[in-house]
């Protein structure tokens, strides 16, 4: 017989599957799937990453919208956890950073898809610059207000992703120089860098028990 915790997880998984099916069906009905299929592979990959960031950002902001909702939604919340406004503010700012990351990833491929290139893309480029500056400032705020465990996990993720990326970049660049593989675009490299950092961040947080 499954434990109450397992039953709850199974019910949540079933609800998630139904919601996912609904979203997928809705996306198909409005033609989003066909639209996505026409995107180049690298744009599709960065759009998928942006989708994950968008979901995580919205989840963080909704979960941090009030202490009551946070207590219900945050899987790692335990009775007795200090839950003052700074905890919720930290999560909200993290959510905004994730949403900004999603917007930054979506903007260039979408602009190109809508024919905004060359001089016509200048306003988009300025907008991206402003969003990037805002995101950098918020990231600095997060780093300053983090405790030492979070900083350690961030540092580990940064080191691991740097090591993996420079290794991969060197390997690919050497093979491309030798004419053994095709060159890849900057956008593909950026998307790979984003995926590697996301994965190493999650692994670092798991290793340190931050979801406990």
């Amino acid at each position: 017989m499954a434990s109450p915790r397992t039953r709850r997880k199974l019910i949540q998984a079933a609800c998630g599957a139904v919601v996912g099916l609904g979203i997928g069906y809705g996306a198909g009905e409005i033609g989003l799937i066909d639209w996505l299929k026409d995107l180049p592979g690298e744009d599709l990959a960065s759009t998928a990453v942006a989708g994950v960031l968008l979901f995580l950002g919205l989840f963080s902001i909704i979960a941090a919208s009030s202490s009551g909702i946070y207590r219900r939604m945050a899987a790692n919340y335990e009775a007795g956890d200090p839950l003052d406004s700074s905890v919720l503010r930290y999560l909200r700012v993290s959510g905004v950073v994730l949403l900004l990351s999603a917007a930054l990833l979506l903007a260039p491929p979408l602009a190109v898809r809508f024919g905004l290139t060359g001089d016509a893309a200048l306003p988009v480029a300025i907008g991206i610059g402003v969003l990037l500056a805002l995101q950098t400032w918020l990231n600095a705020r997060i780093l300053r207000s983090s405790d030492e465990l979070s900083r350690a996990a961030m540092a580990e993720a940064s080191v691991a992703s740097f090591w993996l990326l420079q290794l991969g970049l060197f390997g690919w660049a050497a093979l491309a120089k030798l004419g053994l593989v095709a060159s890849v675009s900057l956008w593909t490299l950026m998307t790979i860098a984003m995926v590697v950092y996301l994965v190493t961040s999650i692994v670092a947080a798991l290793r340190r028990g931050m979801f406990a």
């Binding site: 405790d147 340190r208 979801f211």
Partner: protein
């Protein structure tokens, strides 16, 4: 590094959240230390030692023994 933080915390009647609040860190940090997933910084270890009123080596257990010093 192995440690006795969970035992000391339980003896003091503190929850992970209580101790986190006293030390100014997150509950996840206390949990990570207790489960040997994170070795705290020296300043945090010293604050723990002050809170429980015991020396640091009564909280963190290290079985390393120094090599014998060469005699001159």
């Amino acid at each position: 590094m192995k440690n006795r933080l969970r035992v000391l915390r339980a003896e003091a009647g503190l929850s992970q959240g209580d101790l986190a609040g006293l030390l100014g860190v997150s509950r996840q940090t206390i949990n990570a230390v207790e489960t040997d997933k994170y070795d705290p910084s020296l300043p945090l270890a010293m604050r723990m030692s002050k809170i429980f009123g015991v020396p640091i080596d009564a909280i963190f257990l290290d079985d390393w023994t120094p090599p014998e010093l060469p005699h001159g």
